[in-house]
Amino acid sequence: MTPDAAVSMLNSQLAKHGEDIELIRTTGLTGPQAAAYGVICRAFVRGYSAEELIAGITQSDSKVILGPTEIEASGWPGPETARETTSGTPISSTTGDIRIPRKNDKAVIAGRQRNIEASVGLYMAGVLVRIEMRVAG
């Protein structure tokens, strides 16, 4: 299976059986002055089974599975930003794959804003094909 085929299969299943959620990244202050940028994505949302309730996961948490398609199309959460000294010398930093939601991003699911507690990207041959998140709240 190629990465493109994997993404296509996931998108097909999400289209039939998923629901729309919104991912929101907020920068800086909270509240009405916050800089927020969102994207609507198709996702599977389900609860955790009893066997999955290990340390840190509660029964009110949800597991969210989504693909990268909508995130890549929208450019969420915005472009990468780099730092330079005033003379133009790059200041190195490691930010990881910016397409992967990070802790404290928000997911609006069925009208309720929930906090993203953890997320991971799954790659096939170096291509992002799937994102899994744990949301709470």
Binding site: G28, Q33, G75, P79, E80, T81, A82, R83
Partner: protein, 141 residues
């Protein structure tokens, strides 16, 4: 043009002095008009922030432009502020020499729209208190 609606050119969390450079956002092929907003939410400290909206005409797929072109320089200091501006490629423009983060403060170059845009900040002083400058654009064909 593959971009629709409001497009983010970045939310820059500003701390130390220096340059803050957003990566190029592509997908603006064939645009006729672009409306831009720069919004500063000020926290504390700092001296000045010069925000340069830039476009490019000599990039290609996977290759950044060699020649960034300043089309707007907007300065901010130590207060929250919002500024909007519209740019049209239908306006006739006289010859310009492209600048890279050196356009005269609070001026704009109209009539030059490439296929990609980015924001570049030149920050003087140390800002704190969650100071953030946000850039959004709305392209239209």
């Amino acid at each position: 043009m593959t971009r629709n609606g409001i497009v983010s050119l970045g939310d820059f969390a500003i701390t130390a002095s220096g340059n803050y450079v957003g990566s190029w956002v592509t997908g603006f092929e064939g645009i006729l008009v672009i409306t831009a907003q720069l919004r500063l939410v000020y926290g504390s400290g700092g001296t000045t922030i010069k925000a340069y909206l830039q476009t490019g005409l000599d990039g290609s797929a996977g290759v950044d432009p060699v020649t960034p072109i300043d089309i707007w320089c907007r300065t901010f200091a130590t207060a929250s502020d919002v500024k909007d501006k519209n740019f049209s490629c239908l306006d006739a423009s006289s010859d310009i020499t492209p600048t890279d983060a050196t356009l005269t403060d609070n001026t704009a170059v109209d009539g030059i729209l490439g296929d990609r845009f980015r924001l570049k900040l030149v920050v003087a002083g140390t800002y704190g208190g969650s100071t953030v400058l946000s850039a959004r654009v709305h392209p239209k064909q």
